[in-house]
């Protein structure tokens, strides 16, 4: 039964090429946009190396301070605050502090080399799993002893040293010389937490004033022993913030913030003005809502075209009804046709989406980004396609099932 439905479906699609083209165009285009969007979000927020322990890692990104004079600031916390109150969280397995990556310019043989620099500590390399191409990470000891050592990514190694190995050689970053101890694979610019071109020990920061600062450009990554410990850790962090003694209580004495995934951070920034709550659910709801509204137009279009298509086949439906086919059988047949159509459109959409993602990767808009269609995005897209197919097929099928066989056989209908 299903096989003959499929055969009819393909025949019908081939016969009415124009309608098929319109439908496929709409479906494929919609899916391209949705899968590119999903691929993008997955690349930015999904778990992938070096953040392989994302399920039990949370970070402190932004904090908000408020004072009695009404001055409110939302910034990255300073080293002093994190060192005192976050490194000491009892429930954490490891805590790493690191700076927000900043662009520094180095001149080599008259050429300008731009690189993003991140200062960090030894624990960073134990929380993140970087893939080392040569050498290894610097250690907590390097940080303490202020050893001038650096980890580069592959592209920066090429810029400074060409194709050869770099470990043991000296590199000049922003006017200071460092010994290269390791080279890692490029990390995408869009991976907010680990991204940099050059990683240096915090101890080598020239200006010591960062050590006591409460506002600054530091972040912290916290690794919990197990994912189940995360709620407790969040609670510990909250009470730690409540205990903070402000160095300047006249200016600020109230601290709010939380430990988040990057997605949670975004939701906090968007929906919680005081940064008190993680509103991931709300953000997800908005994203799904936008995707749904976006799908509305092609769906309406598809419904339109489908209605036109059945009305054209009124006499065929009339014959089938006259020979005793029930409304449900007809609805089933039509849904199968529509699902076949959307699946074909879906495959087309995926092929095109892969092209678009490839073009984005090749454009260099986001350094080192490798957006890809992975299995999860593919599955989500497939489900989306089916949903889309059923949604756009339901109304036309219902219209069809209501056709009066006598009128339909005559070919006249309203």
């Amino acid at each position: 039964m299903l096989r003959s439905y499929l055969k009819v479906a393909l025949k019908v699609l081939r016969r009415r090429r124009f309608y098929t083209f319109i439908s496929l165009f709409g479906i494929a285009f919609t899916l391209v946009v949705l899968t590119v969007g999903a691929g993008f979000l997955d690349h930015v927020f999904g778990a992938q190396p070096p953040e392989t322990r994302a399920d039990r890692t949370r970070c402190v990104y932004m904090i908000r301070t408020a004072g009695p004079r009404g001055v409110r600031t939302t910034t990255f916390p300073g080293y002093g605050l994190l060192d005192r109150y976050v490194r000491t969280l009892p429930g954490a397995e490891r805590v790493s502090l690191f700076t927000f990556q900043e662009k520094v310019v180095t001149y080599k043989d008259g050429a300008r080399i731009e690189a993003y620099r991140k200062y960090t500590d030894g624990a960073f390399w134990q929380i993140m799993e970087f893939r080392f191409l040569e050498g290894g990470p610097f250690t907590a000891r390097d940080d303490e002893e202020r050893n001038r050592v650096a980890v580069l990514n592959a592209s920066t190694r090429r810029r400074f040293f060409g194709d050869g190995p770099a470990v043991g050689r000296t590199v000049e970053i922003d006017g200071e010389r460092f010994r290269v101890v390791g080279v890692v694979e490029d990390v995408s610019y869009l991976r907010f937490t680990p991204f940099a071109d050059v990683w240096l020990p915090i101890g080598t920061i020239r200006d010591e004033s960062y050590r006591t600062a409460f506002h600054g450009n530091f972040m912290a990554a916290i690794l919990a022993p197990r994912a189940a410990d995360l709620p407790r850790l969040a609670e510990e962090f909250r009470s730690a913030l409540a205990r903070v003694e402000s160095p300047d209580p006249d200016q600020y004495n109230e601290f709010t913030g939380g430990i988040d995934t990057p997605f949670g951070m975004l939701s906090r920034m968007l929906f919680s003005q005081k940064l008190e709550e993680n509103r991931s659910g709300e953000l997800l709801g908005w994203l799904l809502g936008i995707a749904f509204v976006f799908m509305l137009l092609p769906t309406v279009n598809l419904v339109n075209v489908s209605v036109s298509r059945i009305l054209e086949r009124a006499s065929e439906i009339g014959v089938r009804k006259a020979f005793g086919a029930s409304s449900w059988t007809l609805v089933g047949q039509f849904l199968v046709e529509n699902v076949v159509l959307t699946l074909v459109g879906g495959l087309l959409g995926f092929a095109l989406a892969a092209l678009v993602l490839g073009a984005i990767n090749g454009s260099g808009l986001f350094p080192y980004a490798r957006l890809e269609l992975n299995g999860r995005v593919f599955l989500q897209g497939l489900l989306l396609t089916l949903f889309f197919g059923v949604l756009s097929g339901a109304y036309p099928a219902w219209r069809m099932s209501r056709l009066n066989p006598v009128e339909a056989l005559k070919g006249g209908l309203r």
């Binding site: 008259g110 300008r112 004033s209 279009n301 036109s308």
Partner: protein, 409 residues
């Protein structure tokens, strides 16, 4: 004629409703994209107010870190550093003039403060600059004068305001020599001491966030770099001689490092900063426009499909009209007219929703003119699309042979 068309459409309202919905949604999509486009184009054609070519921006590393000052390095040391830097770079051969500014250009940050004149309060973007700023940036002063070294001895704080702020605050009257309300100055005497702020000049504009930013009130404060009231600077701008090679940046960097050790520097040509800022702003717009464009193609194709179907279904009706003497032109106009009537219905619904934006003032900084233009352009585009998608089906309608069509029964 129109009445008849509307009636014809109403008779088939069930099947037309979906087209109405389609037009409605695509109108809203178009409206959103065009509002942003019109707003930005409108901004783009306004003068920028300064010249970014051959200007290098130097951001001075940890000077900009507010934490540092709290952490013990004295303000005076930072001021000394910025003064020494400025003196040093001025002496370089390739540098025509150099100045300092607080908020760098083209970086999407800004500082606002309240200005007040005779009870009128306005929030205005502003920047603190040194005396040579007008020379480096080629600011056009239209009335009054720019800051000068002799201003050190003034009993008040001089400011220059842009034409827009002059208009908003003073209307047609002359702003020169007027006091805008003094504000508490935390820099001197812990927030209590106040000094008068007096307008000494008017300049065309300084749109620090580039050509795409909206027209904003703006004023420039004087920060003298030297003297008791000086505050440290985070940014230097240098106008270099045309044709200075990029390798100069390296020499400049080394010179500055030698002058004030312990600071970090970043040198960027302003033209380059502007390019990357434009990219950041234009990229999302280009993506949205591409998506909207494809959506419109989809809608147009959908309308062609629906019309085609309706022409095919109404062969007898059309045949009858031809038999009774209607011309091919008349028939094709009918097809087009019906689609236009349906599109108008969707359009009116869309416009009713779109008009809410300016009426409710949801996005305050976009003017009503921009909305009106966007609505008009969207309507025009939708009608254009409608006509385009009706071309082929309406031609098909003229090909109906009355004898054949009537024979069909």
């Amino acid at each position: 004629m129109i009445g008849q068309l509307v009636k014809l459409c109403w008779n088939r309202k069930g099947s037309q409703a979906l087209v109405v919905v389609e037009v409605f949604i695509s109108f809203l999509v178009l409206f959103a994209v065009l509002t942003v486009a019109v707003y930005n184009l409108d901004n783009y054609r306004r003068p920028l107010g300064f010249d970014y070519h051959d200007v290098l921006n130097v951001s001075v590393g940890s000077l900009s870190d507010a934490a540092e000052i709290g952490a013990g390095r004295t303000r005076a040391a930072a001021v000394t550093d910025s003064r020494r830097l400025l003196g040093e770079v001025r002496g370089l051969d390739a540098v025509e003039s150099a100045a300092a500014m607080e908020v760098p250009a083209f970086d999407l940050t800004g500082r606002t403060d309240i200005v007040e004149y005779e009870g009128r309060r306005l929030e205005s973007y502003n920047n603190g600059v040194s005396d040579d700023f007008a020379k480096v940036m080629r600011i056009q002063v239209t009335r009054g004068r720019f800051f000068e070294p002799a201003d050190d001895g003034l009993p008040y704080d001089p400011v220059l305001i842009n034409e827009r702020l002059a208009g908003d605050l003073f209307g047609a009257s002359d702003p020169l020599g007027r006091n805008v309300a003094p504000r508490p100055d935390p820099g001197r005497g812990g927030g209590e001491a106040t000094r008068e702020i007096r307008v000494v000049g008017v300049f065309t504009d300084f749109r620090e966030d580039g050509e795409l930013s909206g027209p904003e009130p703006y004023f420039l404060r004087r920060n003298p770099v030297a003297g008791a009231s000086a505050e440290p600077y985070y940014n230097l701008v240098l106008r270099v001689r045309p044709g200075t090679p990029p390798s100069f940046e390296e020499a400049l960097m080394e010179r500055m490092r030698a002058t004030v050790p312990g600071r970090t520097f970043q040198v960027d040509p302003l033209a380059k900063t502007r390019r990357s800022m434009m990219k950041t702003k234009l990229l999302p717009m280009a993506a949205a426009a591409t998506i909207a464009g494809f959506m419109l193609i989809m809608v147009a194709l959908g309308m062609v499909g629906v019309l085609w179907q309706s022409v095919a279904r109404r062969r007898r009706e059309i045949g009858l009209r031809r038999a009774l003497g209607a011309t091919g032109r008349g028939v094709s106009l009918q097809v087009l007219g019906e689609l236009l009537a349906v599109a108008t219905a969707g359009l009116l619904l869309g416009a009713a929703v779109a008009v809410q934006l300016p009426l409710l003032g949801v996005v305050g900084w976009i003017g009503n003119g921009v909305y009106a233009t966007a609505i008009a352009l969207s309507a025009l585009a939708i009608y254009g699309l409608t006509v385009l998608s009706a071309l082929y089906p309406s031609w098909l309608a003229t090909q109906v042979q009355p004898a054949e069509a009537l024979h069909y029964e």
